[in-house]
């Protein structure tokens, strides 16, 4: 590629963001007369709501309404979920609260300050119930039920079997297993949730501004809850959002709640979440208990795998949960060539905030189990851990590779990527550092992790949780549609719109590179407008920014739109230049004859023809004003009858290794050196790729060592401020050495794969493996805080 694609281009987003000219949700003007909402939340983990007295609050200055679960029940419908069950989820608690922080009432007043004042006056009488916190105990009979109508806390159980795992286990030399737990955490974007709703009673419609991130499969869920058709719920996303990392999916219940407030008060209503609310109730990654076991031969070769994955979704299985269990389903064997697999997926409800999207989405939980297991195999068989990994990697000759559970790994040479990383990342030197440290009596360990990073989700993967018969009944679900549009204005200026939401991913820059590449322009020539509006933009249920869908999805659609526009402009120019379309090229802002470059016209002149002189266009051609790329990859097929599912379109590869040392005085884990090798296919902008990897790495470190949502046995939430929930600062984030190996995806025209989630998946387990190596322990609980390290070092003494 000779154009801007594939090169480091400084970001188009930056000048505005660096000058205080970003336009985030809370920055945008609201209509005069807008009211402000404050959410009254449950102080109990589990309790019946006996009564709610709103009279005192209603009498408070400036208060327009106090809304409770009874109002919500009358005016809306419960949210649809992925699992059919008698459990009802509303935008406010109805009858019972099931986690600390659950919304119980909404005060709507003339200012945020007044609404908070009046919130203090809402009198809620509770009858406390026993809280259920431990996910394993939650499944036992006799444990209190969160939702008595469901008759169980274990609301979804499915068994999967691929190949013949029983025979493989019977003939294997060894069975090696362990149980791991992954904690609850979030990535707490620095901007909290914002929702502004105007209700128009004359049209029965809602106009919503919210920093929602998608997926837009939630749009029908919100519209249904509000009892309106899709077009009556206009959802507008602000041009900028202050981070998301999956978390801002969970804005959706508040869209409905604030919508109802706007309807009830007859005024626009705005709600801005504060940090305390965000930590206690916005969103959490699910915690998971995984029992994993391998059938292994003496040489370390794994021939079969079983996993029992118990995932704790908190108080409700809120759509699109249980995504984390199923998004990774095709990749349940990781980077390894393992034919026989048995998987049991179990979803349990406990008295914690409902789980939702989080960067890595199911990957960190899965790889903690697989990669800890690979280390255990090496230790138990007295083999080198890297040798065990290499012996089991999918060989390059097998690509494209169909995994046991149905994923189609598109490309890669895993062994080669590992070898390069071992050399360029200087593993030998790291081993010497370990030997040296150990000789001096210090606790030093080396960890490894290999990870498959799926990107661009198959919207049908969640239906894998249904039986084949149930899927048959409910109709096929598969695929993922991406949309992007290239527009040309009367002077030939180019703009791009696309079906993504913006939270810092640099879409504006990369889309301008992709389109400029095809049109022979520079990124500066291409304006990108990304403030998705469901009433005016083209979108599908797959729209939004999640599961690394940009590189394999929207980027492709933008490329297609640009190619379509390029070909039209070639045809228009051919007529004007008196040459054949094949002889036309777009380069350096010109449309010119390839064979006679002096025969040229400015891009703007040719492109403007569609506006100024459409009758000059080649016969039968529609004017080249707007071209939409629609991308729907055929590989994203629905689950097969035997439950095999290609969960994503592209599969990147990551190999990490690190050295860590444990401080003998304060038990802190110091990362001495960390190397991360990425194969994300073709890289579209190296600077941005590295930025995404570094960001994910920092979050991986956070998950490994610092961040955890902690509940006590009674369900009290103990990490409700940034003083308790430890987001790493610069001094906690070590350097990461990033290496690249490029195996372009054959399934997308750009060859690019996702890369922004990988280190959220690989880093926690890589660190855990290094700690296990340093301390000679088999169980490493994350985050490995000094308290936990101390416990590991003193157990049994």
């Amino acid at each position: 590629m000779s154009g801007p694609l594939g090169k480091t281009i400084l970001r188009k987003e930056d000048p505005a963001l660096l000058s205080g000219r970003g336009r985030y949700a809370d920055d945008l003007p609201v209509p005069v007369g807008t009211l402000h909402a404050h959410v009254v939340r449950s102080p109990h983990a589990h309790a019946e709501i006996v009564s709610i007295d709103v009279n005192a609050a209603l009498k408070h200055e400036g208060v327009w309404a106090v809304i409770t679960g009874e109002d919500v029940r009358k005016l809306s419908d419960p949210f649809m979920g992925a699992v059919k069950s008698p459990i009802q989820l509303w935008s406010l608690a109805v009858g019972r609260v099931r986690y600390v922080g659950e919304p119980v009432a909404l005060v709507v007043a003339e200012s945020r300050y007044l609404a908070e004042d009046a919130g203090e006056l809402v009198e809620v009488e509770y009858a406390p119930l026993e809280a259920v916190i431990d996910p394993v105990a939650a499944c036992e009979s006799g444990t209190p039920l969160l939702h008595p109508a469901a008759k169980t806390n274990e609301v979804s159980v499915r068994d999967f079997r691929y190949g013949d795992p029983e025979s493989a286990f019977a003939r294997a030399d060894h069975r090696i297993g362990l149980t791991v737990t992954f904690p609850r955490q979030s990535f707490t974007p620095i901007e909290c949730f914002v929702v502004v709703v105007q209700h128009n009673p004359a049209k029965g419609s809602y106009d919503v501004l919210a920093n929602f991130q998608g997926p837009f499969s939630m749009h029908p869920v919100m519209a249904r809850a509000l009892r309106v058709s899709g077009p009556k719920l206009r959802l507008r996303i602000p041009p900028d959002s202050g981070g998301s990392f999956g978390i801002k999916l969970s804005v959706f219940p508040y869209v409905v709640l604030i919508g109802l407030a706007a309807k009830i008060t007859g005024r626009p209503v705005k709600w801005t979440e504060d940090r305390i609310e965000h930590l206690v109730a916005a969103n959490s990654g699910p915690n998971r208990v995984t029992a994993i076991e391998a059938a292994v031969n003496n040489d370390g070769r794994v021939i079969a795998l079983t996993l029992d994955q118990l995932e704790d979704y908190g108080a409700f299985l809120r759509a699109p949960m249980p995504g984390p269990l199923y998004r990774m389903h095709g990749s349940v064997t990781g980077a390894y060539d393992i034919e026989h697999v048995a998987v049991k997926n179990r979803c349990v409800l406990t008295n914690k905030m409902p789980a939702g999207l989080i960067r890595g989405f199911g990957g960190p939980q899965l790889y903690l189990a697989i990669e800890r297991l690979m280390q255990r195999i090496a230790i138990e068989l007295k083999l080198d851990p890297l040798d065990v990994i290499k012996r089991n990697l999918i060989p390059a000759r097998k690509f494209p590779y169909r995994t046991a559970a149905g994923a189609l790994y598109d490309s890669g040479d895993y062994s080669r990527a590992v070898d390069i990383a071992v050399g360029d990342g200087r593993l030998d030197e790291l081993k010497r550092r370990r030997d040296f440290a150990r000789a001096a009596g210090r606790k030093y360990g080396i960890g490894f992790a290999v990870v498959i990073e799926p990107a661009m989700s198959n919207m049908g993967y969640l239906s894998t949780l249904l039986t084949s018969e149930a899927r048959e009944k409910s109709g096929p679900k598969n695929g993922a549609v991406s949309l992007a549009t290239v527009n040309v204005d009367p002077m030939g200026a180019v703009t791009v719109t696309a079906d993504v939401t913006v939270q810092g991913q640099s879409h504006e820059t990369v889309l301008s590179q992709i389109v400029a590449e095809e049109l022979g322009l520079t990124p500066d020539d291409v304006e990108v407008v990304l403030e998705l509006d469901t009433a005016k933009d083209q979108w599908s249920i797959a729209a939004g920014s999640y599961s690394s869908r940009f590189a394999g999805g929207t980027a492709v659609a933008a490329h297609m739109a640009a190619v379509q526009m390029r070909d039209k402009i070639k045809a228009i120019a051919a007529k004007q230049l008196n040459v054949l379309p094949d002889d036309v090229e777009l380069s350096a802002g010109k449309v010119r004859s390839r064979s006679n470059p002096d025969n040229a016209l400015p891009f703007g002149r040719v492109a403007g023809t569609s506006n100024w002189a459409p009758t000059l266009l080649p016969e039968g051609m529609a004017p080249a004003l707007s071209e939409t790329g629609v991308w729907t990859p055929p590989e994203l097929e629905p689950p097969t009858h035997d439950d095999r599912i290609n969960t994503s379109l592209t599969y990147g590869f990551i190999f990490d290794f690190c050295g860590i040392e444990i401080d003998p005085v304060n038990y802190h884990v110091r990362v001495d050196r960390y190397v991360s090798m990425h194969d994300a296919g073709r890289i579209m902008n190296p600077m941005i790729a590295v930025g995404q990897i570094r960001g994910a790495f920092a979050q991986g470190i956070a998950a490994a060592l610092y961040e955890e949502f902690v509940y006590n046995e009674e369900g009290a939430f103990l990490t409700g401020t940034f003083a308790d929930y430890l987001v790493p600062t610069v001094t906690e984030i070590p350097e990461v050495e990033i290496l690249h190996y490029e195996s372009p995806s054959p399934l997308t025209p750009l060859g690019a794969k996702g890369l922004a989630e990988g280190n959220c998946m690989s880093t926690p387990v890589c660190i855990a493996n290094a700690i296990a190596d340093a301390l000679g322990v088999s169980d490493v609980e994350l985050p490995a805080t000094p308290r936990r390290i101390h416990a590991m070092m003193t157990d049994g003494r």
Partner: protein, 163 residues
Amino acid sequence: MRRVNRDERARIALTLNGRKLAAEAEPRMLLSDFVRHVLGATGTHVGCEHGVCGACTVLIDGVATRSCLMLAVQAEGREVRTVESLAASDGKLNPLQQAFRNNHALQCGFCTPGILMSFTDYLARNPHASRDEICDVLSGHLCRCTGYAGIVAAVEEAAGKVK
């Protein structure tokens, strides 16, 4: 000392980015809310409202200050500087801002204004700050996107440490 009545809106006069302004607010209004929602300077962001994240940092008489931990009335008569003041009037970025762009020191950009203001203050006092000093100041800010490496590189560039 000026006395304000809890129940009466107070008129607050201050200098914002070189311009004298006055507006009314409840005495309990936070400076962050006043700057954003009354004066309309939305470049200053609110991330935690309990003084940990640093997103709301502004300069008060040249000193970096958390505007969420200060009442608007406390800014009476003082000079407040926000991120909107950094670029030239034609939009040209100043060297610190440009260094952030050069080093991909921001992604979503939400925490960035506070970080820029902290280093506007700090580099004015210590123009050739060392890497350790930079990290020390930066540890007063939370960024969830970048992993901080780009920010450190940007400030080092601005501090003349990197050619």
